[in-house]
């Protein structure tokens, strides 16, 4: 069963297309890593898949409420403790208990510390632990390992592997090696939108694009 199907997708940012003609499917147990130079449109693509912005062209097919999104901003409140932050997101997503997630990302020792007192890497780990309590099958991750040290990257890889083994899927954008050799890689460079390519006067508003 395919969790996510993307056909001929074009996305735009600031009124200009960034990538176009992207197609792929993702089944349970699969992971796909997006690569490409800075500014090609990885973040934009991931946000489109997560439903935060509409596709310019083409379509994204997936079950409703299937996706958990994690980006640079972790959605943490500095004034709440680690457990409180996690418990909040668990309650919002109607997801699982926070204990295993804390343990998996090695946060148990920090459980009662306010998020303000975490280092950047610890914050990032908490943001990733949030994924586990959402109970969502499709993880959409934008540069998940930023500011993590080597140990934490390995820990993260094993969490993703467990998620895939449980029938989930993951779509990730990254510049560095995640140690997930089983993941497919999609380089976005060939899909860079070329201004001339869009059929110009087809739509009403193409004069601007």
């Amino acid at each position: 069963m395919s969790l996510l199907a993307v056909h001929d997708l074009a996305v735009s940012r600031g009124g200009l297309r960034t990538v176009e003609g992207v197609s792929f499917t993702l089944r349970g147990g699969e992971a796909l890593i997006l690569r490409g130079p800075n500014g090609i449109g990885k973040t934009t693509l991931l946000r489109t898949v997560a439903g935060l912005q509409p596709p310019t062209e083409g379509g994204v097919e997936m079950a409703e409420d299937a996706v958990a999104y994690a980006a640079h901003a972790d959605g943490l409140k500095a004034a709440l403790t680690v457990t409180e932050n996690l418990r909040f997101w668990s309650a919002v997503f109607g997801g699982g208990p926070v204990g295993p997630a804390l343990a998996a990302m090695d946060l148990a020792a920090l459980a009662d510390r306010p998020a303000a007192a975490l280092s950047a890497g610890q914050k990032r780990r908490l943001g990733l632990a949030r994924l586990m309590v959402t109970g969502r099958p499709l993880w959409v991750l934008d540069e998940p390992t930023v500011s993590l040290d080597a140990d934490s990257v390995a820990r993260f890889a094993s969490v993703v592997r467990a998620h895939l083994a449980g029938g989930g899927a993951a779509l990730m954008a990254t510049h560095i090696d995640l140690g997930l050799d089983e993941a497919r890689v999609l380089d976005l460079t060939p899909y860079r939108a070329r201004p001339g390519r869009a059929v110009r006067p087809a739509g009403f508003n193409e004069a601007f694009a």
Binding site: A50, L52, Y69, A73, G75, K77, W89, A91, V92
Partner: protein, 218 residues
């Protein structure tokens, strides 16, 4: 959604100032007015309802940008938009949290500040009633304004500019209630209008605010 409400309230309490600052600003405003217009009862009493309402409105205004801006900055808003609760519900809950942390303390403090402005005693129940009915609309309209300006750097002044004209009907009926209460007149009509506005706002504005938020998340 209850979790969201609880979190917003907890944050307002912890971050400090959620409850207090609005009331303090209200107090300062009410204290400034006698300096501006002179301390005589005859000068203060007729304008007391208006000043109290305008003061409550401005205090409410100044805390509006907190409704969404912090959640936008730290990415919570993105996550809430992908969460299984409708964004309209999240907007309503956040407006409710704003009302609880700003509107309620203002209502509690208003009678006290009424004394500063020589508001007669028989008007106090009407002051409380009008604020109770009117301030939820202020919070909800404020949430709409905050949703529109959430992505903008330093949208504070713009937010005020957009929201204040929307506050006019509430302000007019609110002060009218207090004024009539002060003069022992009939308050039924303005009360009805005020309640009608609040009901309409609470029913419809969350959709507009959620639409604005979605645009800003794009």
């Amino acid at each position: 959604m209850i979790a969201l409400l609880k979190r917003d309230l907890a944050l307002a309490v912890r971050a400090g100032g959620g409850f207090g600052l609005g009331v303090a600003f209200f107090l300062i405003l009410c204290a400034l007015v006698p300096f501006g217009v002179g301390p005589e009862t005859s000068a203060l009493r007729p304008i007391a309802p208006g000043i109290l309402w305008v003061g409550a409105l401005l205090s409410c205004l100044l805390s509006l940008d907190r409704i969404f801006a912090l959640d936008h900055e730290d990415g919570s808003l993105d996550l809430l938009a992908t969460a299984p609760i409708p964004l309209e519900g999240a907007v309503a809950v956040k407006a409710l949290a704003h009302w609880v942390t700003t509107g309620l303390p203002l209502i509690a403090a208003a009678p006290l500040f009424g004394i500063l402005l020589h508001l007669p005693g028989q008007a106090v129940p009407w002051l409380i009633a009008s604020l109770l009915i009117g301030t939820p609309a202020l919070s909800m309209l404020g949430a709409f304004g905050a949703a529109i300006t959430v992505g903008l750097r330093r949208g504070g002044l713009l937010l005020s500019l957009l929201v204040l004209p929307l506050y006019i009907p509430t302000l007019i009926f609110g002060t009218e209630i207090v004024r009539r209460g002060m003069e022992q007149g009939s308050t039924a009509t303005p009360l009805l209008f005020l309640a009608g506005i609040t009901a309409g706002v609470l029913a419809l504005v969350p959709f507009a605010a959620a639409a604005a938020l979605r645009v800003n998340l794009r």
